[in-house]
Each structure stands twice: as C-alpha cells, then as structure tokens.
Homo-oligomer: 491 residues x 2
C-alpha cells in the first residue's frame, strides 16, 4: 500500500518508528509493534509500527525524524509499506526470560540488534529483565562483554601493557583517577582512561577533569595523545566505545536495575575496548554507596577476577571504605583543586585522597611489573614527591587542551554544627544532594568544601563545610536544605 | 521553566509523553524517562519525558496529542515544567522482579497505574517480566483478577446464577459459543457473553457473530438486552470491561509472552466483570493449538478451579481434542453457517460441532442446577430439537441488531488431494493461514469449507476443502499456498 509520508519532528533516539491509522493497519493486517519495511524510491528501511486511533488521516504514514531522513524523502514521494521479519535476537531474549543460558553468538546477536536500533524499548526491557531475574553466569558475562566491545569502537595500542582502573562509585569527592593516571603514566605505563559524567552525583571524573581541560576527544586524536604523553583522562561518551551500554542503561534507569552480569559486562567492556590488560577495580562499601554489603562486595570481587581472566585481563579488586566523602571538595572543580594540591605536594592537600591515590598507583605499578613486589608504594611516593607526576599531569592536560582555571564561586557560605560533640556519621547521599542543590555538576565551581570528617571533635557553631555557589538562589536552595539536614550526625 | 508548546499530531495510546531538547533537560536536571508536571494556565498533567538531541528548538516542549489536549492549550500559551514523583507502583514492580510475592493492594496499585496511563511501556514490561520469571501464585492471581475487574467497568445483574464460558483457543472453526448460548439461555439461565476478535486467527467469536448482527454494544444497552432476552454474545472491546488487560496484552504480544498467572487473571477477570459465577473453560490440546501438552493442561485446569473458588466462581474445565478443525467452515460467516445449521436441525450440520455444543451446554445446565445430574444432555438435546434454542438465537440476534445475511463469496475453488489414502493429520495452523490468505477475518464471507476430516478415506483429486474468496488476488494467494502445502497429511 502507498501512503503519503508525514514527518514527525522528533527523534526517537532508538529504533525507527512509523505510525499509521488503525483502519489502515487493519486493512494491511498489521499490528502494533509489528516490523514493517518502508520503501520510498530505491531506499528501504525497517521500522516498528505504532498505530493511532484518530486525529490522523488514513492515507498517511507518520515518520519520526530518523525514519524520515533515512528514507531520503522528497516532496511528493510516497511510501510503500509491507511486513518485515522480526529480528533474530527475539528468540534468545525469550530464551533468557525462560532461564536458558545464552551462547556467545546469541549474546552477540542481541547486542548487534541493540546497537543497530533493531529492538524496541519493550524488547530490550525483556532482555534486561531476563538477565536480572535469571542472572548471567561467568561465561555469559564474558561473552556479553566481548559482544559489547565487538559492536562498538575499540582503541588498540602498540604497548604490551595497558593499565586501567574503575570505581563502582557512590562516594562524594572520591576523585582518585586524575591522581593515579599521572603517577602511573609518569612511571612509563600506558593508561588510556575513559570516564563517565555524573548522572545523579555532584561530579563524574569526566566532569571534574573537564573543569580544567577538554575531555571530548575522538578516537583518532586519542591514539595520538596516548603515543605522545602515555595516557589520557577523557569522557567515554565522546569516543563511542561500548555503545550498546548506553542503550541498556536507558532501559535500566527507570527501575534503577543493575543486573549483576550486565554491570560487570558494562564495566569490563569499557576496559576491554581500550585494550586494557592490567586493571584495578575499587569497590567502596558503606551504608550510603552503591555497594552496601561486604559479602556482596566479596562476591562481586571474585566475579571481576574470574571474568577478567576469561578476557585475558589481570584484575585486582580493592574493597575500600565508603563510609564518608574523600578529600575536601565535592563538585567538579573543587575536587580537581584537591587533586592538584596532592600532585603539587601542597601541605594542605587532603591526606585521605593522597593515600588512596598512592595505594591504587602502587598496586598498578606492582601488577604491571614496573615495581617489584613491595616496592610499588615507594615508587609512587617518589613520583609524587619529585614532581614527576605533576609534570605528567600537566603534559596530559596540555595534550587534551588546557582551559584557563575557573574562578571560585561568588558565594561561599559555611554550614555550621548545631551542637558540640564528635562527628559520628556523614551521610554521603545528603552531602551529594546539597552539592547538587548548590549547582554541581552543571556549574563546575559550585558544590561544597568539607572541613570535618568522622571522628573529628566539633564545637557548636564550627563550620562543617562551606557551600560554593554562583547565585543567591542556589545558595538559598542548598542552605535551606542543609539547615534542616546537614548530613552530619554529631554525638 | 516556561516552554512554548509544540503539538505532535500523534496519540501515544498509553502514558502521556512530552519531549524537550537535551540542553533544556540538562538545565532542568531532568533525564530521559523522568516524570514531569506540566502546567498551562490552571491545568496540570503528569507526562513522561523524552529527550531529543537535535532538530528541535530548545525553547519548545513537544507534546503528543493526549498531553496537548489534556492541557487545554490555546494560542500563545506557555507550559511550565517541573519534576514529578514516580508512580507508587514502581516499588512493587521492582519487588516482583526480585521474586517477592505481591499483596492485593500492591497488585491493585499496579493495575490502577496501568489503567490510568501512569506507567511507561518499559515499566509495564518489567511487571510482565517479573510475573513471567517468578510466576504469580494462586492468591496473587486471584488478587490480580480482582484488581483488573475493580479498575474497569463491571456488569451486574439481578439473577443469582450467571453462566459464562471460555475457550483457550487455537482450533479453526471451533465456534461453539453462539451454539451454547441460545441453548443455555433458552433453559432460563442468564449468559452475558463477551468475546474477542481474531488477532492472528481467521475468526474470533466476535467476528463470527458480527457477520450476522451487531456486536459493539455499550454496557447500559447490554443490561437491557440481558433483561429482555436473557443473554447476549458481543465484542468485549465494545464494553471496556477489564481495560487493564488490553494494556498488558500490548506488552505481551511482541514476545508472545503468556505468563500463566496473567493469562489466568486475564480470562477470569473477563468472567468476573460480567458477574459470572458458573463458568466452563475449554482447553483444547493438540500439536498445533495454544496448549500442546496434556500435563500442562491438567495443571492449568487445577489452577482455574482453585482461582475460581477464591473468586466465588464455580468452574468446570474440559480438556478437549484440539487435533483438527471443528465443523466445516473456517472464517467468520462460514462458521456461523455451521452454527445456524446445527440450531436449525439441518441434517447437513456438522456433527462434531453439534456434539461439542450439546456437551458444553449440558455441563452448564447441570452445574447451574437447571438440570439434574445426568439429565443435562437430554435437556440440551431437547432444547435444540424442539427449535427453542433456534428461537432464542434469533431473539438475541434481533436484540443486538440483526443484519441482512451476507452473500457467499464470489469465488469458490476446491483444493484437492494429491494422492489416494487416509487423512492422518490436519495442520490447524496451515488451515488457519490459508483461510486468512483467502481474506478472513476482514472479508467476513471468505475462508474455507472443509470436506474431509482425520480418518476419512480420500481419492486423488477429491476436494479436501473449498476456498471462499471475493477477489481473484485472494484466490491466487490462498491457492498458491495451498498447492504447495494443503495442510493435510494423507497416507
């Protein structure tokens, strides 16, 4: 049947969608969610069918922007509609829902269809649900990781040893990555690090680094930077590595679902896609971080190591203390100030951040064989103390594209203790929320600077932290909240 | 933030959806799939947020038809956007995915949100997945049934005894309902039957009955028909009973998922919503029907009876032979011809259809107490033979709105046996497919009329069935297919 195209000025961002009138669908024996071939001139595309009851003429076919553009429609063109086959991955998705273990080629087909935009949100949700309800075993997880890597861009290097790190997250201020990279790279180890932006936190590593240099760099340029300075610290989304992951995260977000196998595959795919073979994983454990349970952390640790082996990756997992923020700053630039103070050997640099950076760097130096067993810490400290790490940091910043350092926020307002006592608990989530209310991560210099940590004695009226914000509204939002709930338990 | 509305001329048919530019979303700290409150003048609605990357101005908000209309937007109006809470049912949906048994009030909340258009397709898919992966036990299934009924329209009658029937389906020509209804109603039992239309079959009961009278009748009018003639046979979709069911079926269709508990709840809700308390369920078992496995049929039978009890419904389940088509006609009107021939005591009426109708009617007559035990068959036969059932059938047809009987199809072409032998197998799916190729169910008089059943001796060249179609194209489609694959195994 020939229908007149009608452009819907919206991108679906996923599968291509076409809309026809109910009566037209009936005539063509087509149903909601059917795949249809659309043909206009010599161009053919497959769309998912949506059906509308009224307010839409029977002679027309509505095309969301992607489909309209893919069909190269010109004025006066008509579109021919006929049924198309279902994508091959529906069978294995159904099998997974039934609890069947999937084969590597089946997982690859699913990921291929996800990246190719061949699956609807409903179909992807069934895949996520199946993985959540029945789990993915180690072989499936390794196969899913490979499938994600194979169906995305990949960076390869001449170096035999490629280091990488990952943190499961949830601890405010935990900006260890831009500290570890220059130490490890200064020792001569390649470390091509891609990071993510904040979704619900006050800063992701990419947001923090972006406050002082460019982080959106294409794959070709990244290869050159790696060759020139030995590493980088960029935004993963700018390179389109592990593209399937973004689609799956979109489906997982509404329910905050993290099927363990998918979480593992997602992380490992990002490492594998930059050809990393020596990887450390940081799992902070605490009541207000992603991983609340030490036993589960141990289980996850074992799986990371096993799956790493299956991918030819040496993996060391550290279960760390996630009970309170690390460093002083919470917010993109305020966290980078801490990082730079550590690198510059500033006596006021936060000790906990410095310690965590040295510890992680020393593990990487030993596991890559750069330092002998037991000598990693000494080497890391030396690279820091000598200024070599600071020098390397600046080389990387210059290679990525240095920005002028931003000015600190206009408003800096202390939040004070209501009573005298000892800090017993700092609620990570509350601190993160207040930093976001102050404007982080969008306004890169906003957030807060912490003055008191767990175990510190405070007097009534002492500043617990200082809010940083660039306009009065933001100050008020954050302060109103902090006065009701500072995030500190003092006893 | 105030945005200029832009109407997208499409109905989503589900949750209301608004679209904003990526940068605007960033500024408002909103994410894909977030709920937003939209306010225009005094009107407020909650929408699901979609985010677009380009081809869409930052100052505008795209509104799909339902949202645009709900906001009563007039020229020059702006729309205010701010975050909204997530619907209450996301927590129990998540719990179900984790394998938790849901409470009646949780299931009611989920169904309420489904009917209210508060859940996205992704969220509904998680619910279906959870029910599929972890199952629904008897209490959950009964609670889901009640939730579906409570969140939809309901028909109530003065009669203490209300009979109903249901067939799991998959057998071509199995048009027993319009035969059972007049027999049972003629005996003085109320039988308010709603049926469905064909989705992938050549005819649903509603399609068949519609070939001779109106089947789309509102609830108010149905009550009057029931009072006047004691029963009806209409299309369920015209009454909006069990509305939640349609939403869930939309989600189940892409993967042909039938979570057992949902299937049970869906069927039982349709019975419960017409206040039925004496119900027979027919589960045909055969290689090419929905239920392939006698053991599973037995399991389903037990659950139907248990859940019926929990709902105050007396249920009798019959596991029947689904190995071949029933009656001669396959296609809406051709099936009604069989039904009317049985009711008119025509000597050429199909014996198997007549036998199944009498059997089902007699079970209903006995279970409702209208006939004594062992006397049901005699009563049913008598009602048929005396012409009382045929009279009642005509009363019902008149009450619903009789149509002029359609003319038989213009083209009637036999499909013949390729060899001499005995009919060993008739493939239901092939027969159904050929009937659809001939034009059923859209063209009500098309389909096919079967001449040979399993066990019949045939000579090469004997007609196995006759195709009925109204145009040469349809004849060719069906004949081309039938010549390659008649659907008959002859040995």
């Amino acid at each position: 049947m020939l229908l007149k195209p009608y452009k819907i000025q919206i991108k679906t961002g996923g599968i291509m969608v076409a809309v026809i009138h109910e009566d037209t669908a009936h005539q063509l024996d087509l149903h909601l969610g059917d795949r249809v071939n659309l043909k206009s001139g010599r161009t053919e595309v497959i769309c998912m069918l949506d059906i509308t009851k009224n307010g839409f003429p029977k002679s027309r076919i509505g095309l969301f922007a992607e489909a309209y553009e893919a069909l190269n429609i010109e004025k006066g063109d008509t579109v021919e509609v006929y049924p198309a086959d279902k994508p091959a991955s529906l069978l294995p998705i159904r099998a997974k829902l039934d609890g069947v273990r999937l084969k590597p080629e089946e997982l690859n087909q699913i990921v291929k269809d996800i990246v190719g935009g061949n699956l609807s949100d409903v179909e992807m949700t069934y895949f996520v649900s199946g993985c959540y309800a029945h789990g993915l075993d180690d072989s499936e997880t390794a196969a899913l990781t490979k499938a994600i890597v194979n169906n995305g861009k990949k960076l390869s290097f001449k170096n035999k040893i490629v280091a990488d790190k990952h943190c499961i997250g949830g601890v405010p201020g935990n900006r260890v990555t831009p500290l570890v990279i220059p130490i490890v790279v200064a020792a001569g180890i390649l470390m091509p690090k891609t990071s993510s932006r904040a979704i619900t936190s006050p800063a992701g590593t990419a947001d923090a680094v972006e406050s002082i240099c460019n982080v959106t760099i294409n794959a070709h340029h990244l290869q050159k930077i790696a060759e020139k300075v030995g590493g980088f610290m960029v935004w993963g989304g700018g390179v389109d590595l592990a593209a399937a992951d973004d689609h799956m995260i979109k489906i997982r977000n509404p329910m905050s679902l993290d099927p363990e196998g998918m979480l593992l595959a997602s992380i490992m795919a990002k490492k594998h896609s930059v050809s990393a073979n020596h990887v450390i994983i940081d799992i902070p454990v605490g009541e207000e971080v992603k991983m609340k349970d030490a036993e589960k952390a141990q289980h996850l640790k074992d799986r990371f190591i096993k799956i790493g082996k299956m991918l030819g990756m040496k993996v060391i997992v550290m279960v760390t203390d996630g009970s309170q923020p690390i460093g002083y700053g919470v917010g993109p630039y305020l966290e980078m100030v801490d990082v730079m103070n550590v690198l510059k050997n500033d006596p006021n640099a936060p000790e906990d951040l410095k310690e965590k950076g040295i510890m992680e760097a020393s593990v990487l130096l030993e596991m890559t064989g750069k330092a002998k067993k037991g000598q990693g810490r000494k080497m890391a400290e030396e690279l820091l103390k000598s200024g070599k790490a600071w020098k390397k940091f600046n080389e990387i910043v210059d290679a990525q594209g240095r920005k002028k350092l931003p000015k600190l926020a206009k408003f800096q307002v202390p939040v004070v203790a209501e009573k005298t006592g000892v800090v017993k608990v700092i609620h990570n989530k509350t601190i993160a929320h207040i930093a976001r209310l102050a404007g982080a991560p969008k306004d890169v210099v906003s957030g807060l600077v912490i003055h008191k940590k767990i175990g510190d004695r405070v007097k009534k009226g002492d500043a617990l932290y200082t809010l940083h914000a660039n306009n009065q509204d933001r100050v008020n939002y954050a302060l109103d909240f902090a006065i009701k709930n500072s995030g500190y338990d003092i006893k």
